[in-house]
Symmetry: C2
Subunit: 319 residues, 2 copies
């Protein structure tokens, strides 16, 4: 059962795909080796450009990602793809069609695909996706493309950790409104109207531009609206060019460095907090908590008073 970490990291350093896969699995499953692995790889990170692709279900994100990966490969770029699906334990994973499409991209030499799904709690999926992006970065990928399915807090968190976020919508009544309500418009650096051969494409493009006008520039960048037909590989070169333009903008304005700084700060804070929570919610505190819940259930104290009692106890323990 023992893992020879040194040998594994050596193989990883030589570009062995199976070592990459193994390392990701260890980190994803929160193996006890994970901290050591991430520490060892960290100095090799910081090169890969991170792109996030998000949007409502059915917008054709997976097809768009496949197409974008082909464009990147045609420029000899090495690509990592992460498909994040915060699916319920009920469905038990990504939709089959999406999964097959992802596997096909992964057959391409120079492309590494990883699907991540959560079962149960949504917490930590965004952090885990960032860890996997770091690993692919350290492996030598030039680009890491993270696709998130659905709309929710996890998507927003994943997008925050990417440098360029592409929001994909389709010409369907209300799609732009729903994307807006889900907070997707705020995080968009580029908006793609996919399936733009469908009726209403011009309309939704106009509507989207109007919404963006209302919002105005953010940090000096006005998100462009790009029509694509991913299933026919149309508009994908335009998309790549726009991503590159956004990258140049971020680099020239110093925003890319600022972005990296924010990511690092967020990571450190999250690590500190999770360690502190792990320490405080030990067996003894949990036992005390249960007794306090009894008191609250009986109507003798309020939850707030209970929390103060618990805090006092934690303070005494720390002294």
């Amino acid at each position: 059962m023992g893992i020879d970490l040194k040998e594994l990291l050596e193989r990883f350093g030589r570009g062995d795909r199976s070592a990459l896969s193994r390392v990701i699995t260890l980190v994803e499953n929160r193996s006890s080796l994970a901290p050591e692995i991430l520490d060892a790889l960290y100095t090799k990170t910081g090169r890969a450009y991170r792109i996030g692709i998000t949007g409502p279900p059915g917008a054709g994100k997976s097809t768009l990602v496949s197409g974008l990966v082909q464009v990147l490969r045609s420029k000899n770029k090495l690509v990592g793809v992460i498909a994040v699906d915060p699916t319920s334990p009920f469905t038990g994973g990504a939709l089959l069609g999406d999964r097959i499409r992802m596997q096909e991209i992964g057959l391409n030499e120079g492309v590494f695909v990883r699907s991540m799904a959560t079962r149960g709690s949504l917490g930590g999926l965004a952090e885990a996706a960032t860890d996997v992006a770091d690993i692919m970065d350290a492996f030598g990928k030039d680009f890491v493309v993270t696709e998130t399915v659905g709309v929710g807090q996890c998507e927003l968190d994943v997008a925050e950790a990417c440098y360029t976020t592409v929001v994909v919508i389709v010409p369907e009544s209300g799609d732009s409104i729903q994307a807006m309500k889900a907070g997707l418009m705020e995080i968009a650096d580029i908006i793609v109207i996919n399936k733009s051969d469908r009726e209403g494409a011009d309309n939704i493009a106009r509507q989207t531009r109007a919404m963006l006008e209302l919002r105005g520039e953010r940090n000096g960048w006005m998100p462009p609206v790009i029509p694509t037909i991913a299933s026919q590989s149309k508009g994908l070169d335009d998309l790549y060019e726009m991503i590159d333009k956004h990258r140049q903008f971020l680099e020239a304005s110093g925003l890319l460095a600022k972005h990296r700084r924010t990511n690092i700060e967020r990571t450190i804070r999250a690590l500190v907090e999770s360690e502190i929570y792990r320490t405080i919610w030990n067996e003894s505190t949990m036992h005390h908590l249960e007794k306090l819940v009894d008191e609250v259930m009986a109507g003798r104290i309020s939850p707030r008073r209970a929390s103060r009692q618990l805090l006092e106890r934690l303070q005494e323990d720390g002294e």
Copy 2:
């Protein structure tokens, strides 16, 4: 600017609606008086039955809530309604039509309606909604109905704090699949197919039942699927009866008490953690954090090592 808290709580205790409104505002805005208010009211809570209504945008949730409130009023029940809209800062609030509908319900004597929206961070909205439900409970409401718009972590958190969660979908292609993907099916105690005079209603009801069959009972309860046409007040009595049936089931099985216990435990833990969070991220720690971020940016240490250094420092400070 001083608030006479004693006088306010006295008016609240006499059933003064404007005092209720004032108390909610103080708590929602995290006034410095909020902890004292919640403490004072806590012993009066625990009576109201808490119903959550959720589902994708456009499912007719607001109309369904209006109808359900009418059914409850016809049985002389006092009702509080909370409309939670985790809307983006970009849209700036609930859709106008929904807001007007909610105001109309609120004109009814015996019904109190409160809309809650967030601007910016989604964090804390679910906790705030639970506080508001507690306040309405303490005011003497028999039922608190919380409607959440959209699909996301906030909805799941709100649903967790309710005793009966109703998930509303409509006969539209893919709606049940999307609801499932968003994790709504797992949290449903009752599933409503609204607008069930539309084509495909039978189909989606069958599909939904099949999904539920696959999942099987949860804690001995199999969620029923109920057709409604909320705009014509059809099916709402059935819905109320099913909610009541679920309530009886929860009471008889002891699950209601267990549910309340879990809610209390979660509240205490959240209070403890937010206080600890406030304590650790003080000016001095933040200053130290910035210096560590510099070290990481320069490639000298990893975020993990930085977090360990920060933890050591926090430990020293605590001694």
